[in-house]
């Protein structure tokens, strides 16, 4: 009994310690953004890596999400209302939820893991220490360009994902379900709301921050050779995915205003 209480106690203390370290790491990184030097070349490379190379994954995800959504909503509604309801539903679901959340989770899997593995390997092979001995702040050199790239490129990815997802819904609705293309497009444009798109892009920006900070934090604090890097990579993906889902609820509540 005493052992169980002790284990629970140490688990709570460890969790609080990790959360505290993570908050401290995030604050140091955010403060670091405001001061020089800024490594522009690394930032541009990271934008290409996080943004451009994630485009196929996010594009495929949102395309099929839009297509499936069209089929599912058709199956669940009155066929006479399909031409108005389906575009409405697709626009709402894609712009506010599916593109940012699915896109965020896909990027968390791809980028969170790669950042944690890269920085983790640098940590266990003393490359981060080498940076410090060469008068280079590893937070500014490794962490800040990745965080900024995540915050900036994820909304762009999600915006493209919105378009592809809506297009996916259009393709299925018109070619498979036989809806009128012109009326479908009109209804889609009417259904688009600025606040809906902005809420999706805000989410994407926050998810970009979560994914990159988790990848950087886990990699930066990894230890124990290859096994430690593997653990850091897994933790980065798992924790950023969980935090994306939690943040999604919080941001949705803020925008819905319930």
């Amino acid at each position: 009994m005493f052992n169980i209480a002790q284990n629970i106690g140490s688990l709570i203390i460890d969790s609080v310690e990790v959360i505290g370290k993570m908050i401290r790491f995030s604050l140091i990184s955010i403060i670091g953004i405001l001061s020089r030097p800024f490594y522009t070349n690394i930032f541009i490379n990271q934008c290409i890596n996080i943004g451009f190379f994630s485009l196929p994954v996010v594009g495929m995800t949102t395309l099929f999400a839009g297509m499936v959504l069209a089929l599912q909503s058709y199956a669940g509604i009155n066929p006479n209302l399909a031409s108005t309801t389906i575009p409405n539903l697709i626009v709402l679901a894609i712009t506010r939820e599916l593109a940012p959340v699915l896109g965020g989770l896909m990027v968390a899997g791809r980028i969170g893991a790669s950042i944690a593995a890269e920085i983790g390997t640098m940590r266990v092979t003393e490359q981060i220490e080498a940076l410090e001995t060469l008068s280079t702040d590893p937070i500014k050199y490794l962490v800040i360009p990745r965080i900024l790239a995540g915050i900036i490129t994820l909304p762009i990815l999600v915006l493209i994902g919105d378009i592809i997802g809506i297009l996916g819904g259009y393709i299925v609705s018109v070619s498979k379900l036989g809806l009128n293309p012109a009326s479908y497009l009109n209804n889609t444009i009417e259904a688009l709301s600025l606040i809906g798109v902005i809420s999706g892009l805000t989410k994407a920006s926050v998810f970009g921050f979560i994914t990159t900070i988790m990848g950087c934090y886990q990699g930066y604090n990894s230890s124990g050779g290859a096994e430690g890097v593997g653990k850091a990579t897994t933790n980065a993906v798992v924790w950023s995915s969980i935090m994306i889902l939690i943040a999604n609820y919080i941001i949705t509540e803020m925008f819905v205003g319930v």
Binding site: E118, T121, M122, T125, E126, Q127, E129, A130, E132, T133, L134, S135, T136, D137, Y141
Partner: protein
Amino acid sequence: MDKIVYKNVSKSFDDLIVLDDFSLNIKKGDSVVIIGGSGTGKSVSLKCLLGLLTPDNGSIKVDEQETVGISSEYRNKINENIGMLFQNGALFDSMTVIENVCFGLKSGKGISDRKSRKIGIECLDKVGLDKSILDKYPSDLSGGMRKRVALARAIATNPEIILFDEPTTGLDPITASTIDNLIVDTVRKMGVTTITVTHDLASVRRIADRVALLYKGKIEWIGTVQEMDETDNPFVKQFINGSSKGPIHWARGNK
């Protein structure tokens, strides 16, 4: 004048005491080699000097200026004058050889690409490497070549102090001897102060002006190479003879 002064430095990790009242004075231009078994705190002493680890207690001065508890900006300035050769080279594996060597010049000192490339090529030449490897990646190089590139990176910024963490570990005797000679040649020409951490006695004899034996977090003995060979100190004798019998017990956990 003492270039580096460690005074009563202590460092522990949880319950493991690694440095315990560690004191060492190093004169300008001196080549001090710290010997001792694995896990006795040799590398920790170097990392404390570089600010990679913060001592729990004590003071470390460089040019009479305190380096413990200073701001990161001031730390960067101090580190501009310190070069480090890591045990496994710690070359940036996503960068080419020339990018590695020039990194400290460009990122740390803000020297232009063209000028830093010229200096980088000169440094590679000093360690016996030609232009054919400039665009190769560290993974394309042998262990000895990686050590040479790491040495070129360490000397590129023209530091006043260079730290060598087990420079010959994992190398065959001939390559190890070549690296030692490179260290002696390069360093003597530059007139820098060096601290080398090793347990390779052949290397000690080639590099050291003074030898310090670290045991249980303290300097147990210090003297010249000749004094090391002639001393009756039981710790030194046991270490030189590689005997398991004597006062030294290398079991970790110097609680």
